[in-house]
């Protein structure tokens, strides 16, 4: 009996231990403490708000450097059309050649819409929470800048957009309201002007961090906003706006006054450049090794660090999605399809120009092609321009150097034009001026069915620029990839995003903004002629030839100035803007602002999609006035809780079914 009792006591002891454990350990079972994720209260702390500021910069990567967004800014203009692999609706519809219509579903401008409002809200959150958390006015000014920056892009692209995200106008939204009301264009501009004026007042002269915004960056956007709003008020070609409203400034100023304000603001910035200045040559602006130079005022930064420089997307293989910088793939034709006969055995071939992670080549997606007429007589790159303007050489990859040796292929040489041999790192294919075309014999088989031409005395194959096709065309060199880890090979990360910053705004634009305002009547110390010539003189100077891959010492400044018309027109400003900013995403905005879209881009010429196509066809665009605004994305309409009628009215009129 005794042992039994002990047994019972032990057993009972065990059970009551368990029971006690239950009740004591349960007291905090229902409490929550996150350890690996942020809750929203973090956004009211100093670190959180500073992180908010960083995300304002990081958001730039969600459209700048995004090839689809670039497509919406270039395809359909007088610079670009869809290329061979750009047969998707989002490319063909933007081309406006009646090959599929722009709709709320397929328009790539939606990339902006989908990103901007979250950023506007973050900026508002920084502004609202910042002061209490001890954030300086200079830092808050960056938030004011970005709020205006996003609204400015939105208002140009979509017309009037909502200032109230759910919690009141320009307030940080924490409500779960799923409806939206669009403000009018003057209301949005009024908010933009106020924010940018505040930003200019409080921002520092010099950036606090590499690439952070300054007074002059804010001046650039304010002068551009004044200029754009002035055009909107003037409305020379009677383009409709939406939501419908009177073309009247809420501050009571006229179009003329805004042209003058744009001019004055640009001049003020030119005269007080701060850390910014023009680079000595156009090449210096765009060569990868000189990224983040003094001329670049704003960029969506990237570097080879995967976590920070690429937002964690990884550099091994890109799928073409933000935050990668993959825009350069789109304006790059598939040069890797070229085939060359081996010198040692002409029955065999190899790919002489292989995919390489260098600025001149890169990953070829063949989505967007430059229109051929731009390179021909009457175009911005006509032969007379090519002869003296270094911007031609530093904008396009015109020569394709062989690189098969870098893939490990030991083949000594391939057959070139006229029975010659081409060795590694020699030119295989060149784009030559229109004037040379008559001297070229095209052969359909050359290059493996690419119909490349041969010119007497030249070992390389040639194609004249008046045979630019949707399949082969000069690559936009400025946007090209650059990596430091190719190690003498082709670069194993050629298929990833570009670790270069994507340039958004340049000091040079002040000259063109002021010149445009001057054309529209603004007066001041410099005329439009003076202003454009600053850039043209610079474009005459060349210290390095990209396509010849040699140092040169060329000064065509005088010839450049001599070629400048004495009377500067809007057309000429647009020509200059094209030469300065070709294919970088400015174009649609320029044409829409000046209402010259239909006028300048009505027809274009290009050869077909086939590898051998060299015969130009003329395409005519139908650009309805309603298309000067892009469609509100379908996701927005789907996501709103509003009546069908309200949703229909939310959409810009040209895109209602």
């Amino acid at each position: 009996m005794k042992t039994k009792n002990i047994k019972y006591i032990l057993a009972a002891g065990l059970l009551s231990c368990g029971l006690t454990a239950t009740f004591t350990s349960c007291s905090d079972v229902l409490d929550e403490q996150p350890r690996s994720q942020f809750d929203t209260t973090f956004f009211t702390t100093k670190t959180g708000i500073e992180g908010g500021l960083t995300s304002l910069y990081a958001h730039l990567r969600y459209f700048y450097g995004n090839g689809y967004y670039l497509n919406s800014c270039e395809t359909g203009t007088d610079e670009y059309t869809y290329a061979e692999s750009g047969s998707g609706q989002n490319f063909t519809s933007l081309d406006e050649t009646n090959q599929g219509a722009i709709t709320s579903e397929v328009c790539d401008a939606g990339n902006l819409w989908g990103t901007a409002f979250a950023n506007i809200n973050t900026a508002s959150g920084v502004i609202e929470n910042g002061a209490a958390a001890g954030i300086s006015d200079a830092l808050l000014a960056e938030a004011y800048f970005f709020r205006a920056f996003d609204y400015f892009l939105l208002v140009q692209t979509f017309g009037g957009v909502p200032l109230d995200l759910g919690a009141g106008e320009l307030k940080f939204n924490t409500s779960t309201v799923r409806s939206s009301v669009r403000n009018t264009v003057p209301e949005v501009y009024k908010a933009i002007f106020a924010d940018l004026e505040k930003a200019i007042a409080d921002l520092p002269e010099n950036p606090r961090l590499t690439g952070s915004v300054t007074k002059n960056v804010a001046r650039l956007y304010l002068s551009k906003a004044y200029l754009t709003f002035a055009w909107w008020l003037e409305n020379p070609r009677n383009i409709p706006t939406y939501p419908e409203c009177e073309r009247k400034d809420l501050n009571g100023l006229s179009a003329t006054q805004y042209y003058q304000k744009a001019y004055d603001m640009a001049l003020e910035a030119i005269n007080n450049p701060g850390p910014y200045k023009l680079q000595p040559t156009f090449y210096d602006v765009n060569i990868a090794t000189n990224d983040r130079n003094s001329e670049i005022m704003l960029y969506a930064d990237h570097n080879e660090d995967e976590k920070y420089g690429n937002g964690g997307a990884g550099y091994g293989w890109g799928n073409g999605a933000s935050p990668e910088n993959f825009a350069h793939w789109f304006e790059c034709w598939n040069y890797t399809q070229l085939q060359a006969k081996l010198a040692s055995d002409p029955t065999k071939t190899l790919a002489p120009v292989q995919r390489e992670a260098v600025q001149a080549l890169g990953r070829p997606w063949t989505r967007m092609a430059p229109v051929a007429n731009a390179f021909m007589a009457g175009g911005v790159w006509e032969d007379a321009v090519k002869a003296i303007d270094s911007r031609y050489d530093a904008t396009f990859t015109l020569r394709y150097y062989t690189n098969w040796d870098k893939s490990g292929n030991k083949e000594a040489a391939v057959l070139g034009a006229n029975g010659s041999q081409i060795k590694p790192n020699e030119v295989f294919l060149s784009w030559v001026p229109e004037s040379e075309d008559s001297k070229i014999t095209y052969n359909a088989d050359n290059g493996g069915g690419f119909n490349l031409g041969e010119m007497a005395g030249r070992p390389d194959f040639v194609v004249a620029v008046n045979h630019i096709s949707r399949k082969k065309y000069p690559i936009n060199w400025k946007l090209g990839i650059y990596r430091t880890d190719n190690n003498g090979g082709l670069g194993s990360k050629v298929n990833g995003g570009n670790p270069r910053p994507f340039n958004i705004a340049k000091f040079s634009e002040f000259y063109l903004i002021a010149a445009e305002a001057a054309v529209k009547g603004a007066k001041g110390q410099k005329t439009a002629y003076d202003l454009v010539n600053v850039l043209r003189e610079r474009a005459g100077k060349q210290t390095f030839s990209v396509n010849d891959n040699v140092t040169v010492s060329v000064d065509n400044s005088a010839a450049m100035v001599a070629a400048t018309p004495t009377t500067i027109t809007i057309d000429y400003i647009l020509d200059e803007r094209s030469r300065e900013f070709w294919g970088e995403g400015y174009r649609w905005f320029d044409l829409v602002r000046t209402q010259e879209w239909e006028h300048r881009a009505k027809t274009y010429k290009i050869a077909g999609k086939g590898a051998g196509d060299i015969t130009l066809e003329t395409f005519t665009r139908t650009i309805p006035a309603g298309h000067y605004l892009r469609p509100i994305p379908q996701g927005q309409l789907d996501g709103m809780e509003m009546s069908d009628e309200e949703k229909v009215n939310y959409q810009n009129p040209a895109y209602r079914n």
Partner: protein, 1044 residues
């Protein structure tokens, strides 16, 4: 005396269930208090069975005394009796037998008296005889379960139980199934049922449990049954009971093993060389690259797949001790895929022990532990999209590194390449799961039938993933830097349950069982990870990422903890096995919800009426059993991510030149109102058994309404915030289930034939969305339609010349309907359905086809079910098991635009489909390189939707039991069965299989195994699809079961 009896009954309860309450059919005796020592002169053991097998809970009484016991789960009993005593063996519904108490009574067979009542069902916190069950509970025994050799129980359960849908979500070895009991009800929260392993909620994965060690699975389907699990039971409950020993029984040793040969069920149907060459020429978009030629015909899949070999071994020992029982076992499972390098290995051990301590106490332990390793690296998409016109070999017969197509450089991946890479191309997952339950129990010495029990669950699961790609591996660049990554996670869980049970029978006919419980549990999850490039030596693989010279990142860090507290009470009452009722009330509080909204209480009741036991039914002798059931219950769901009430920030890091900064922005709003999602369910059931059990079955109808659904609500862009989690919306599930089992031949000339079928239908629909809207297109949710629908254009054939007519516009220009509806379109492009309002009264289209023409298309099957049939003759047994689905839709990504293997452009490997040409206008697939998006034909997404119906024979088994042969029996072997099985032998009536030859079952989640994941079907509410995962296989098994 009575006390002694009850004590035995208690033991039995433990043995039976290892779970908690003990509603055992005790002897109908008057309660007396005379505790006299019985003179125990002799111990008898025995086993009671009926024609079907072991009879559980039969009463064994020493005649003329109160000394007795009841049989255990295996029908066994042990009783000390006086010399020369007579035993009376009785059981409700059976004719009682009297026998001399000899030492060994191993084969007592009771005859049924017309009412079959032999099944014990685990109902949660207790067991019940099948006859007394009032909720909707299905049971499948371990023997039935293991008729299908499978790596986890869900695979084996597929198609076996009405209302329980198992969906394959990956064909890789060792992967899990999706389990849905009576459909789905939640949009963002989990729809997975609660799994209870040996009494404690199971936080692991089913594949951690060796199915060979499972004694039975019980599935609680309706809320009156699941309500006792409260918030955990909203999606149904699967109770797994592992093998137990039986008290006093001699040790039984078993071995079960098989070997498995796996072959590809059907290759992905890609074009061969000549077909492709012709196709590419017709498409006219791409020409052969330097690596291709029209006279080459390479079947890249043949070069890649292999025959997979698998085997499984399981050894177990079970028996009894004095006052206790034990069972333990170990298993090894090896499963190789047909894809080289892919394999799964699992070593599992399990143990079960319980022991009486003194008169009043009992302690026990269950443990299930397994180690698993999942390996394999594959690129099926890469293999099938290789051009058949390219050869993996160069002119010297050496394998090439890559093939350059016109626009793609594709690495050469063959079986030889994959196998030779070895440690240079690795992805492996290793982990341990250990699930342990301890219990202690004390019986109240003063009140008969009252006891207290504590269950403590201590569970742990870990997982470590490592991946590595060596220098230049499968990269065009031989010197491409190597890279590896690791990630580790562990889940820890504890649970404590305190139970008070009162179980007693009054006045012979009033049986009362009362359970009260207080419980708490907490789960903690942690994960870490890192990745790095340029590891100095390929030998390091992923083991020394700290040595990396290149970029290294920490990633995948996560932590969460969540807890649940509950009170529960339940009363079950039955009168004379004729009328039964059960009432339960449970209160749960979850840490995941907002303060002030954490607690919720839900009631449940159910009642049953066994009509066959009424006097007026006594004339209908052919009706053994006829029971009507009705139940109502409320349950709820809190299975949202922890911390959802708090909102969140998204991270956007940035480099300012070389200065690195972390960026944050608010992307989810806090919700201080976040509360429970809850469901109310009515269930009506009819169970019947006729002709002495020759035909039995049940029919159930249920309706379940779920409201305050927990939802991640996405906001329009203009809100500036992507979304928040809220209680929004209502759903409804209605359905019926019918199962029927029959004994067609009952020992007719030695032949026995049993067959069973189950059929069920579930109709799911959303009945309300946020603030009264009737559609949420962004999330694909539409009021009045099921939760999962396709919202897309609807395929309506191809545009052919006869569909096109000329129209004259108002301004007099002539054009065609095609040019208006499809600007830039061409003959042979996909035609989709469009709304009638597009056409004006003259038949002239007024607009192009656009987003408004998208259609809501249900994916829900009309009927689902399964069947099985077993024929035995002498020592042979022959079983066929199958499953079927009628209607419904399946998404085959490989046929649509997401797979990039049906691009119809000639860019890379192409599915062998019937494409449109001028000479083949009746084709299903559009004209190659016609109107399209960037890479695919326009509306190509519609090509992915197939009728999901099929009938699939899952297994055919032929076995022979040598143990019935006398020489074998003489060796003491009670079972020695050899069998051969063919799994997945064929599929019938499947439009998908008929067209493509492929298995119609899904094999991937919507975000996997396609070139582009279906973002709209991914996220929290994921949908399984057919992608290019590891191919389905047809398996040939040879197995052995031995018991001695």
């Amino acid at each position: 005396m009575n006390l002694l009896l009850n004590q035995k009954a208690w033991m039995l309860g433990l043995v039976l269930t290892t779970s908690q309450a003990i509603p055992v059919q005790t002897m109908a005796t008057e309660a007396t208090n005379d505790v006299t020592e019985v003179q125990q002169a002799k111990q008898v053991t025995g086993r009671v069975s009926d024609s079907q097998g072991a009879l559980v809970g039969a009463t064994v009484l020493e005649k003329g005394t109160q000394n007795g016991t009841v049989t255990d789960m295996n029908g066994r009993f042990v009783l000390n009796v006086k010399q020369g005593a007579t035993l009376v063996i009785s059981y409700v519904g059976y004719v009682a037998q009297e026998l001399k108490a000899t030492a060994n009574l191993s084969n007592i067979i009771l005859k049924e008296d017309g009412h079959v009542v032999n099944e014990v069902v685990v109902i949660g916190y207790g067991t019940q005889r099948r006859e007394a069950v009032t909720g909707s509970v299905a049971n499948i025994g371990g023997d039935k379960l293991n008729q299908i050799a499978a790596s986890n129980a869900a695979q084996a359960l597929q198609g076996r139980v009405a209302g329980v849908q198992m969906t394959q979500t990956s064909t890789k070895p060792g992967e899990e199934m999706q389990i849905r009991i009576r459909g789905q009800r939640s949009l963002s929260a989990s729809n997975d049922p609660l799994i209870v392993l040996d009494g404690i909620p199971f936080m692991g994965q089913l594949s951690d449990i060796n199915p060979a060690g499972i004694k039975s699975m019980d599935i609680l389907k309706d809320a009156s049954a699941t309500a006792i699990y409260g918030s955990r039971g909203a999606n149904g409950v699967v109770i797994i009971t592992t093998e137990k020993g039986s008290q006093g029984a001699p040790a039984k040793v078993s071995y079960n093993g098989y070997m498995n040969i796996k072959t590809v069920f059907h290759k992905y149907p890609m074009m061969d060389g000549p077909t492709y060459a012709k196709f590419r020429k017709y498409a006219g978009k791409y020409v052969n690259s330097a690596d291709e030629s029209d006279d080459t015909d390479t079947d890249w899949q043949d070069l890649y797949y292999k025959t997979g070999i698998g085997h499984s071994h399981d050894v177990s020992v079970a028996g009894g001790t004095n006052g206790g029982s034990y069972s333990f076992g170990a298993g090894y499972y090896h499963d190789e895929s047909v894809v080289p390098t892919e394999q799964y290995n699992r070593v599992s051990v399990r143990g079960n022990f319980d022991q009486k301590v003194g008169e009043w106490f009992r302690f026990g332990l269950n443990t299930n532990t397994s180690y698993r390793k999942n390996e394999g690296r594959s690129d099926i998409g890469g293999v099938i999209s290789q051009s058949p016109l390219s050869s993996p070999y160069d002119e010297n017969g050496n394998i090439k590194r890559f093939i350059a197509l016109q626009t793609d450089d594709k690495s050469v991946l063959t079986r030889d390449v994959a196998e030779s890479l070895g440690d240079l191309w690795v992805n492996e997952n290793k982990g341990i799961g250990t699930y342990n339950t301890l219990f202690g129990e004390v019986k109240c010495p003063w009140i008969d039938g009252l006891s207290y029990r504590i269950n403590i669950g201590l569970n742990f699961r870990s997982s470590k993933n490592g991946n590595f790609t060596g220098t230049g591996v499968l990269n065009k660049d031989e010197n491409a830097v190597n890279g590896g990554g690791i990630s580790e996670n562990q889940t820890r869980n504890w649970a404590v349950e305190n139970l008070i049970t009162f179980d007693r029978t009054f006045a012979e006919k009033h049986n009362v069982n009362v359970v009260g419980m207080y419980s708490a549990e907490q789960t903690t999850y942690e994960s870490t990870g890192a990745s790095a490039q340029e590891i100095p030596s390929d030998l390091f693989m992923y083991y020394a990422l700290d040595k990396a010279l290149g970029q290294a990142n920490l990633n995948g860090y996560n932590y969460w903890q969540s807890g649940l507290m509950s009170w529960m009470g339940r009363v079950m009452y039955s009168y004379d096995n004729k009328y039964m009722a059960s009432v339960a009330l449970r209160s749960d509080a979850s840490s995941r919800l907002a303060k002030g909204h954490q607690w919720h209480t839900y009631p449940a009741f159910s009642a049953g009426w066994n009509i066959a036991r009424e006097e007026f039914m006594q004339d209908y002798k052919w009706i053994d059993n006829l029971k009507l059931r009705v139940g109502y219950g409320e349950t709820s769901n809190q299975a949202i991510s922890p911390y959802s009430t708090l909102g969140g920030l998204a991270i956007r890091n940035y480099n300012f030149g070389d200065t690195y900064k972390a960026g944050y922005y608010v992307n989810a709003l806090p919700n201080t109102e976040l509360g429970w999602e809850y469901s109310k369910t009515w269930n009506f059931g009819l169970d019947f058994s006729l002709f002495n059990g020759r035909l039995s079955g049940s029919f159930e109808y249920y309706i379940q309404k779920t409201s305050d659904i927990l939802l991640d609500i996405s906001m329009p862009s203009t809100s500036g915030v992507s979304g928040f989690t809220g209680n929004i919306g209502k759903t409804e599930n209605k359905g019926w289930e019918f199962s029927l089992n029959g004994v067609i031949l009952d020992n007719k000339n030695g032949w026995n034939w049993e067959a069973g079928i189950n059929i069920y239908q579930n109709r799911n629909k959303l009945t309300a969305l946020a603030s009264g809207a009737d559609r949420d297109e962004a999330n694909r949710w539409f009021v009045g339609y099921p939760i999962d629908v396709i919202y897309d254009y609807e395929y309506d054939g191809l545009w052919n010349a006869e569909d096109v007519y000329e129209v004259t516009l108002a301004d007099g220009t002539k054009t065609t309907n095609l040019d208006i509806l499809e600007p830039g379109g061409n003959l042979g492009m996909i035609k989709v359905k469009y709304n009638d309002d597009v056409l004006d009264d003259k038949g002239v289209p007024t607009r192009k086809i656009g987003p408004d023409d998208r259609r809501i298309q249900s994916m829900e099957p009309d009927l689902l079910g399964g069947f099985n049939s077993t024929v035995t003759y002498k020592n042979f047994d022959f079983t066929v098991i199958g499953a079927f689905q009628i209607g419904g839709k399946v998404i085959s990504a490989i046929h649509g635009s997401n797979g990039y293997v049906n691009m119809l452009t000639g860019r890379r490997g192409q599915l062998d489909v019937d494409y449109w040409t001028e000479d083949n206008t009746g084709a299903k697939y559009p004209k190659p390189a016609g109107a399209g998006d960037t890479d695919n034909a326009k509306y190509a997404s519609t090509l992915a939707y197939f009728n999901g119906g099929y009938l699939k024979v899952r297994a055919i088994t032929l076995g022979y039991d040598f143990a019935k042969l006398q020489p074998v029996k003489n060796l003491g072997i009670s079972r020695l069965r050899l069998y051969a099985t063919v799994q997945n032998p064929f599929v019938l009536f499947s439009p998908y299989t008929n067209e493509s030859g492929l298995d119609p079952e899904t094999n991937s989640w919507a975000n996997e195994n396609t070139a582009v994941g279906y973002s709209e079907y991914s996220g929290k509410h994921k949908v399984p699809i057919i992608g290019y995962n590891t191919p389905s296989t047809r398996n040939f098994l040879f197995g052995l079961n031995v018991t001695f």
